[in-house]
Amino acid sequence: MAVSLSKGGNVSLSKEAPGLTAVNVGLGWDARVTDGAAFDLDASVFVLGENDKVLNDQAFVFYNNKKSACGNVEHQGDNRSGEGSGDDELVSVSLASLGAEARKLVFAVTIHEAAARNQSFGQVNKAYIRVMNKAGGTELARFDLSEDASTETAMIFGELYRHGEEWKFKAIGQGFAGGLAPLAANFGVNLA
């Protein structure tokens, strides 16, 4: 039974699924039904060290860098419109193989060209993040963001983090002004 989290809540994935070695993190939202520019949302993952900065630039996994240098975090691709069933974007994480220096994985979603299109997360319906056991696909945790989203154009949906020997997941739902670039800079990514 998946744990449905509210903003700020957390759950121990290792307790939910003993022997867990890898997860799929799914992110989704509804396609726009009204007229106007479509919502193009992109998920990004930041693999952070103890100092809350990315381990290296390849530890920023996004649409232009689909795989971390270690190969343990892989972005499965972009669904541009959010149509269709299931997750719009999927990220695979091999928790067991991740080096000990990786302390935290931050999952963020940004709205592509939000300023130009005058779009914000409050206009996106049914945005969520969920964590599934890669073996078997069981949903372990889920966080529906709809109520916590507002005028943000970039949002941290949730994070996977080490807690002692366990992996936990925390529902964040925190907006970040400015979009992907300042978000990436905040986590120590060297941007061109």
């Binding site: 009204t34 007229d35 106007g36 005058n118 914000s120 997360f121 409050g122 206009q123 109520e147 507002s150």
Partner: protein, 383 residues
């Protein structure tokens, strides 16, 4: 005061509320504000879930359109009294008959009692129907969200979005194709011309011009003997054309000048009905996609065989353009013994198609040419 921009939400005070929509009125564009009571599926359950000028009180008074003045519309809401099945109440604004777009309304706000104000950023908005905001249930309480999204096609797609079926006469937006119209426009002496509006893309589609006439049904006897030496009349349709580049010419079966639809002169004569018995007569097709290349077209009919007796032919030229009522010109006058009748003139006036009734009689095409200063050279021909 909480100011909400699109996407933002806020909790609501308990108890009855008022929601006020304010805007600066725009001349010639009526703004209608409505409320839709929606279930979990985002749709109304029936027409009773729509609160608008035609039905100001719904859900036993839980939602009421209580004031509607120029630039100010007030709804009274008692959300706690709504059925549990109602998950959402959407407030919408629509511009009647899509006469303007929301960009024309620079100041559009929705304020809710308790100090919530939603500012709708209308700059550049192409929509003619907007969901301004929505009241929705969240963990046993009602909240309000500013939405500011909508539809360029107006009330119809908006209503469809909410699962409402709108009866045709209420408001059918001009953006959708007009239903088959039984009306037609007859050009006569009191109304001698009409213009087909210039299309945005300059494409009028296929403009078809039909000439039809009656063949006398009496095959013999006294009257037919009086009417003509031969029983039938062969009426031919033809036209003089002039393109924007100065090229000009004639299209008619006589001389086998059938023209071309896809290439200049973009006018094509279809077949030749020599008896008038073929039900739909003769057709000229004009390629409306190329209308910008055409300066003017004069449609005429001429009696190829038989004695000129225009009244008896009951000739009628009908112009069909996609999305327009047919335009009809009847040859209702007597042309004496003149064999050619200039019936209708189509002119390119700044991209629109101006259709004028002519019905002027001439001895032959050459005389028509001369009268309209077309400037062609003529020689006798046969078909």
């Amino acid at each position: 005061m909480t100011t909400l921009s699109p996407g933002a939400n806020a909790p609501l005070a308990q108890g009855p509320l008022t929601a006020t929509v304010s805007f600066t009125p725009v001349a010639g564009a009526d703004l209608d504000v409505s409320a839709f009571l929606l279930g979990a599926n985002g749709k109304v359950r029936g027409d009773a879930d729509m609160c608008f000028f035609g039905q100001t009180l719904v859900a036993n008074g839980a939602v009421q359109l209580s004031q509607s003045a120029s630039g100010r519309v007030v709804f009274s809401l008692n959300l706690d009294r709504l059925d549990a099945a109602v998950e959402k109440v959407a407030l919408t604004a629509t511009i009647y008959e899509n006469k303007a777009r929301f960009a024309a309304f620079p100041h559009l706000t929705l304020s809710v009692s308790g100090g919530i104000e939603a500012l709708i950023p209308t700059q550049g908005m192409q929509e003619t129907a907007l969901i301004l905001g929505e009241f929705y249930r969240r963990e046993d309480a009602w909240k309000f969200r500013c939405v500011a999204q909508g539809f360029a096609g107006g009330l119809e797609p908006l209503a469809t979005h909410f699962g409402v079926e709108i009866a045709a006469p209420t408001a059918s937006p001009p953006a959708t194709p007009a239903p088959v119209s039984l009306s037609k426009i007859t050009l006569d002496k009191s109304r001698a011309s009409i213009s087909l509006e210039k299309k945005g893309d300059g494409d009028f589609g296929e403009i078809k011009i039909n000439l039809n006439w009656n063949r006398p049904t009496a095959s013999g006897g006294f009257f037919s003997g009086l009417l003509g030496r031969s029983g039938g009349v062969d009426l031919d349709v033809g036209c003089l054309f002039e393109l924007q580049d100065g090229r000009k010419g004639v299209i008619q079966a006589l001389g086998k000048a059938f023209g071309s639809f896809d290439d200049a002169p973009y006018i094509h004569l279809m077949g030749d009905d020599r008896t008038g018995a073929v039900r739909d007569g003769e057709w000229l097709r004009i390629n409306g996609k190329e209308w910008r290349n055409i300066r003017r077209v004069l449609v005429y009919a001429f009696i190829y065989q038989g004695v000129p007796n225009w009244n008896a032919t009951d000739g009628v030229v009908t112009l069909f353009a996609p999305g327009q009522p047919p335009i009809e010109v009847r040859v209702s006058e007597e042309g004496g013994n003149l064999g050619c009748c200039a019936i209708a003139l189509l002119e390119n006036v700044a991209g629109s198609v101006k259709v004028s009734r002519e019905v002027r009689f001439f001895q032959d095409q050459q005389k028509v040419d001369h009268a309209y200063q077309w400037g062609l050279r003529w020689s006798a021909g046969s078909k």
